[in-house]
């Protein structure tokens, strides 16, 4: 049975993971186990609540963009809408398609949501001992970034398996697209983060934040890496303009076509949790993490007021969530071959070149300011490029090599 094999592999990975984590356990004093458990619970609880309200916020914001009201009937200004949605999705008929691979079909949404939840615990929300005398992160891994990647990639398997197990052609196309886009953006995503890691010299998210506190935000030195990571995060969360695995218009939901009830809701949950995690990861890596902008610390009164540990993290997360919703309200969807061309042909070389540049700076011990100047130069270069190509000439052929309309 295909399903049982997959389950076996998965259980194996799960069984090994504590051992792997123990290998890399940090030497510093850690929180007692019950506290870690409590914090893990808080993270999951918080993420699920955030997911529920994220749907509401997204719908209201999209409605604003689209000159309409959005859900405002359930509870005061629609605040109970997520609750109503949750009740609705739980009580809907839970179908399993007759020809589906039953085990994998049920397992896929679980994989998707489980591995989506797992990464958030690494994000530091404040200085040591800021959480009532305990650390404001669930676990402090030295391989932090690697762990984040490993886990969030497994989450893609949820989508892939869902499409495969549904035994439906639409789902199959959706999961094929998902895999195709994954292999194309994943490389750019990974390489774009190599440069900051090289500069900081650590994979530990907490140390990356500390480095930024001492040297300034990484976005100043790593603007192209930041841009690539932002774009590929959208692809990873399957958001517009990279929402092709679930393209509603042509694939009727793609991999989740055959899913209903709570299983469908789990996929939605996974997608939004990916989004929230990405919104937390981007500031942690590039925008100083939970710390306020350096210059504000110098201002006497404001610096004191705004140095609350969680405030800045939440502000930054909210900003990126807003950004993702904004993009969804604005952009069109790419075709999957175009996404591949875009990732392989644009993002990947750019990430590689940037990585080589920063590696050179680090290797030859050149000053950091050089990287900042390079970032500025790349920004200027991009703006010039955007200005030149802003109005596509209606007569010109497609730039990404359009294969549509080929007379066969």
């Amino acid at each position: 049975m295909k399903g049982m094999q997959g389950l076996g592999v998965l259980l194996g990975v799960l069984a090994l993971s504590p051992a792997l984590a123990a290998e890399t356990a940090v030497a510093e004093a850690t929180d007692p186990l019950w506290m870690v458990g409590l914090k893990a619970f808080l993270v999951i609880f918080g993420l699920l609540t955030a997911f529920a309200y994220m749907t509401l916020v997204e719908r209201r914001l999209l409605a604003r963009i689209q000159i309409r009201q959005g859900p405002n009937r359930v509870g005061p200004t629609g605040l109970l809408q997520p609750l109503a949605d949750a009740i609705k999705s739980i009580f809907k008929e839970d179908l399993v398609v007759a020809k589906a691979d039953r085990v994998v079909f049920v397992l896929a949404p679980m994989i998707s949501v489980t591995f989506a939840v797992l990464t958030f615990g690494l994000i530091p929300f404040g200085p040591k001992d800021a959480f009532f005398g305990y650390d404001p992160w669930v676990i402090d891994l030295d391989v932090g970034l690697l762990y984040v990647f490993a886990v969030s990639e497994i989450a893609i398997y949820g989508i892939f398996l869902a499409g495969w197990a549904s035994n439906s052609k639409y789902s199959l196309l959706g999961s094929l697209r998902s895999s195709a886009s994954m292999i194309s953006y994943e490389l750019a995503l990974g390489i774009s983060l190599l440069a900051p890691v090289l500069l900081v010299g650590s994979l530990n998210l907490r140390q990356i934040v500390e480095w930024q506190h001492q040297n300034g935000w990484l976005i100043l030195y790593m603007l192209p890496a930041f841009a690539i990571f932002l774009l590929t995060s959208m692809a990873e969360a399957a958001r517009t303009p990279f929402d092709l695995p679930e393209a509603e218009q042509e694939l009727v939901g793609g991999y989740n076509t055959e899913y209903s009830s709570i299983k469908w809701a789990l996929f939605q949950m996974a997608e939004y949790i990916h989004l929230i995690t990405a919104s937390a990861l981007i500031p942690t890596l590039f925008l100083g993490g939970w710390r306020m902008p350096g210059f504000m610390e110098q201002i006497p009164v404001i610096g004191g007021i705004f140095s609350l540990p969680y405030l800045w993290m939440f502000v930054k997360i909210a900003f990126f969530l807003f950004f993702f919703i904004w993009v969804r309200g604005t952009l069109f969807r790419l075709r999957y071959d175009q996404l591949m061309v875009f990732s392989w042909g644009r993002l990947f070389p750019l990430a590689l070149v940037w990585f080589l540049l920063s590696a050179g700076v680090v290797a030859f011990g050149l000053p950091l300011s050089l990287l900042a100047w390079l970032s500025l130069a790349s920004l200027v270069g991009f703006l010039v490029y955007a200005a030149v190509t802003a109005r596509p000439d209606p007569k010109a052929p497609s730039r990404l090599g359009n294969r549509g309309g080929v007379r066969v």
């Binding site: 000159i67 196309l173 604005t330 596509p392 359009n402 294969r403 309309g405 007379r407 066969v408």
Partner: protein, 415 residues
């Protein structure tokens, strides 16, 4: 390719490069899309043969919205038939009203007063704008952009409000009568139309800003599903889709009706023949429609009140007040209401330009009060046959976009 219909409908699968790696087993996947599918614009069903995501062959299946309107019209008097006409193309319904009325008027030799003709032109162009707005909104939705839909429907709502005001109905406004109109425009109606067309050019700019300059839209639409001009003509493509392929044919210019020859407007022609041009040409047509409405409103204001129906008592109902004083009027009224008028023996076809292309009613009269046969040359039906041609070789994701760009209305297809 088109000249050999057998080749068009059954291309040999072996002709395509299915896979570069021969040892890899791959097969053509046949995918059924529709009739319940979010992007087939109604109940169109297409069966596509896919190699990966590339479409090898596409076969549209129609008939899921068959209503028998044409057949039913054989059992209704010529006036009663007007109930059916707008229901075929529910987006540009006024064009169907107009096309039917023009055909019957030609059959019975009715004379439409100039005021009625001008009002017809004005409303027809308003309806065309509404139809193009739906095309634009839903078409861009198929590209994955949610927002333009709501902006397009905002102005469409304004047009529908105007129609509700003038005829009492938003979609199926049976406002046209044989020989004229049901009644005159409400007072102050022209003022509202003027307000609408005053802001419309800026709204159209807004739509353009929403999509035309988007590089993603450009990449998705440019060069996709090209229909060259000769193929477009061979496939009987008409309307905006034909003009996007570089063929300058607009019935309003070629065979003017309702006094269209007296209006100053351009027929936009683009030469790409792809999805991009088919989307853009509707924007340009809306701009021209605004110009026509502008001129029609000016004429109506200069014209002042006047008759809105052919005074011939054998075609039009007599005015209400005459029924109390004139015996003749009562008799005409009775005859018209109970059995309708009797056109002479003959057949008639009048082409018109609807938002989708050439639309005409072919009516055969056997001298009775009901048509012997009605055949609608509906642009959606004829344009749909270019779908399998246009979709050949495009990606699955582009298929919905190609359907949207050809702008079929299933009610118009199945009738």
């Amino acid at each position: 390719m088109v000249r050999d219909p057998a080749k068009l409908h059954s291309p040999s699968v072996e002709a395509y490069e299915i896979s570069d790696a021969p040892e890899l087993k791959s097969e053509v996947m046949t995918l059924n899309v529709g009739p319940q599918h979010p992007s087939t614009h109604g109940v169109l069903r297409v069966v596509v043969d896919l190699s990966g995501e590339q479409i090898l062959r596409l076969t549209p299946h129609i008939g899921y919205l068959h209503t028998g309107f044409e057949k039913n019209m054989e059992h209704r008097t010529y006036t009663q038939c007007i109930t059916y006409t707008p229901r075929m193309d529910y987006l540009h319904s006024f064009a169907h009203d107009l096309a039917y009325a023009l055909a019957v008027e030609k059959l019975v030799g009715a004379e439409v007063p100039p005021r009625a003709e001008t009002i017809r032109v004005m409303l027809n162009e308003l309806s065309r704008i509404a139809s193009h707005l739906v095309f634009l909104g839903t078409g861009l939705l198929d590209f994955g952009a949610l927002t333009p839909f709501f902006y397009a429907f905002r102005e469409r709502e304004a047009v529908l409000d105007l129609f509700e005001w003038v005829s009492g109905q938003r979609f199926h406004h049976n406002y046209i009568r044989i020989g004229g109109l049901k009644e005159d425009l409400p007072p102050e109606f022209l003022g509202e139309v003027k307000k609408f067309i005053a802001q419309m050019p800026y709204r159209i700019d807004e739509y353009e800003a929403l999509f035309r300059e988007s590089p993603i839209f450009y990449e998705r639409a440019r060069g996709v599903a090209v229909i060259p001009p000769d193929d477009a003509i061979n496939l009987s493509l008409t309307g905006g889709s034909l003009r996007a392929s570089g063929v300058d044919y607009d019935v309003r210019k070629a065979y003017p009706y309702s006094g269209y020859e007296t209006y100053k407007f351009e027929v936009p022609v683009l030469y790409g023949g792809d999805v991009y041009d088919r989307m853009i040409i509707r924007i340009l047509e809306m701009r021209e429609s605004v110009k026509i409405i502008q001129q029609a409103v000016e004429r109506l204001e200069a014209m002042g009140p006047g008759p809105i129906r052919d005074p011939n008592p054998q075609i039009s109902l007599p005015p209400r007040h005459l029924l109390e004083t004139s015996m003749e009027a009562v008799i005409y009224h009775f005859k018209l209401v109970t059995e309708g008028f009797h056109p002479a023996l003959g057949e008639v076809y009048v082409p018109t330009e609807s938002a989708r292309g050439e639309l005409g009613y072919y009516i055969i009269s056997d001298g009775g009060s009901m048509p012997y046969r009605v055949k609608v040359r509906s642009p959606s039906f004829v344009n749909l046959q270019s779908l399998s041609f246009a979709c050949k070789g495009v990606q699955m994701a582009d298929m919905v976009v190609v359907i949207a760009s050809l702008d079929p209305v299933m009610g118009d297809v199945d009738r």
